[in-house]
Amino acid sequence: MTKNPIAPDVRIHLYTQMIRVRKFEEQIVALSKESGRLPGMQILANGQEAVAAGIVSALEPADVIVTNHRSHGHLLTRGADMNSLMAEIMAKETGVNKGKAGTLHLSVPEVNALMTSTVVGAGPPLALGAAFAQQYRCAGGITVVFFGDGAAAEGSVHETMNLAGIWKLPLLFVCENNCWAGAQRHEVHCATRHISGRAAGYDMPGKSVDGNDVEVVYHQAAEMAAYCRSGKGPALIEAHTYRMRGHGEQDHQHYVDPAELEIWAARCPIRLYRQKLLSDGVLDTDRLQAIDQEAEVRAAAAVAFADASPYPAPETALTDVYVQPPLS
């Protein structure tokens, strides 16, 4: 595949996207240390920002994304509003889902982040329906579904790949292989090193890429998205990356080899890209600092907004179950 060089503004965009995710989640890390600030578990994309930024930046507005429990990167890079996202993570009334999603089920339909499921492996069948609707309406647009290497073991993923392969749906599978499913190493939950090897069994192209190199991910996404858009059918990208902060904030990684963490820390996608942009002269340290600064301020403002928001009124717990609630 010929990689045409990426325009400077796009490269700056890619960096900006990653740092915004990082700063946003750093606020969550801080909050999760104070008890009672955040309901439920806190699951972060820290270390995987290049996958979200690289994939989502290659999409068009009409494209749909479906994500999972590790969703912050996908949603922010897709354009979700930081304030209402942070408010939702705190389960506040001003949250993007009125405090009914919490951190695990954030969905932002207004930016085509259509559905989120924290049931591992559930994203693909949901995305199947979205991609089918796009094909059915001939409206153009593709659907991208993010799932983990652990999720690849769920039967639902197999059923979806087979059906997408038969119907030639515009569905891009993005497997973030971060070496872990909970406390289970990849080899404990997956029979093969590369999940991309399964694509052929569903008559679709599959590629494994370095998920910590945002430009590699971006190029691969552009290529595969074009393939899906052209009507040829589904495709699979496996992005090899690493989950830097454990499964969630309550996970202190007692089972993780510190040496392995160090290796991946050195491969931090943001640090790598910062160096690259500097050495390529796309940005100087001042502009970089300004971007980082702005991201930091923005994230802090989101927390302030969320803090200022109340929890939803108790009785609203009973609404939004049905469009047309049963009479009785």
């Binding site: 559930a122 995305a127 796009q134 639902s156 059923e159 049905y322």
Partner: protein, 338 residues
Amino acid sequence: MIQKTFGQALNEALTIAMEIDEAVFIAGEGVGVSIHKDPNMTTFGLLDKFGPGRVKDTPVSEAAIAGLAVGASCMGLRPVVEIMFFPFMTLASDMLINHAGKLRYMSGGKSSFPLTVRVKAGVGFGAGSQHSHNLESWIAHCPGLKIVWPATPEDAKGLMLSAIFDPDPVIVVEDMMLYRMPGSVPAGDVRTPLGKARVAASGTDCTVVSYGAALHTTLKAAAVLNEQGISCEVIDLRSLVPLDKACILDSVRRTGRLVVVHEAVRFCGFGAELAAMVADEAFAALKGPIKRVGAPKIPVPVAPTHEKIFKPAPEDVVRAVREAMGKEGHSSGPSATN
């Protein structure tokens, strides 16, 4: 009104829905090309009429079929998907229970899921418990879903149309024992509202609530009881969720007695909810014990001699009503076992 079988009525409902709304499509295992070439089958002839773009045969992948419905409905389509037999609903249950029923709520009301799931139910075709296992109480227990169970050709058409155009996920149970049942059906887009029960026979001594094929067992029993001087008010539930509580409570407040009849296992079956509701909200009116007629807690058997034990018969309903009336020694039968 035109004479049609139950299956033809369902078929007409799908045809009308697809004619009036491009957003309606159907999918499932054999909904297009079927091993049966039978006009009494719900999807008969739809592939020829509407083509492979809107009538989608699928692989044997129940989770994906349900996911297809959830995802496509979230995009504004009106999927009508089939889960072939009720026991296979287990394979679709994550998509239906954890997604179709919950995603709207968790979106804060931003998303909606106007999907319909058709599922075949029923006891008495000898295939055994992996093809036959009525699980309506599972669906009824879970938030965000609706479930209807027509007992007549007219309601088969009317409830199917209402389900397809309802803005929420609706499970439509097709009772296999009824496909060939004839009846008069109104022409055109005539819908049976969800959540409205039907008084199939009015009476004064005992309220008997049922649905699906069991309703006809109940009506047979009511006729027998009539000759014995016991007047039953038979209610055809039609819709389990939403439930027409008012209709049931009003009737029990008049008769003072309740018997519930269904073909599902009695223990933790839907009848338990009806009995519990009445034992709370109409307690003051009750003149006798609430009886439930249902299957014993065994898998649906195969042998004809065993199926008789499993499936409620008119005699069972007659006995239950007489017990509710205090006219017979109390016995809760094999179905008491849990």
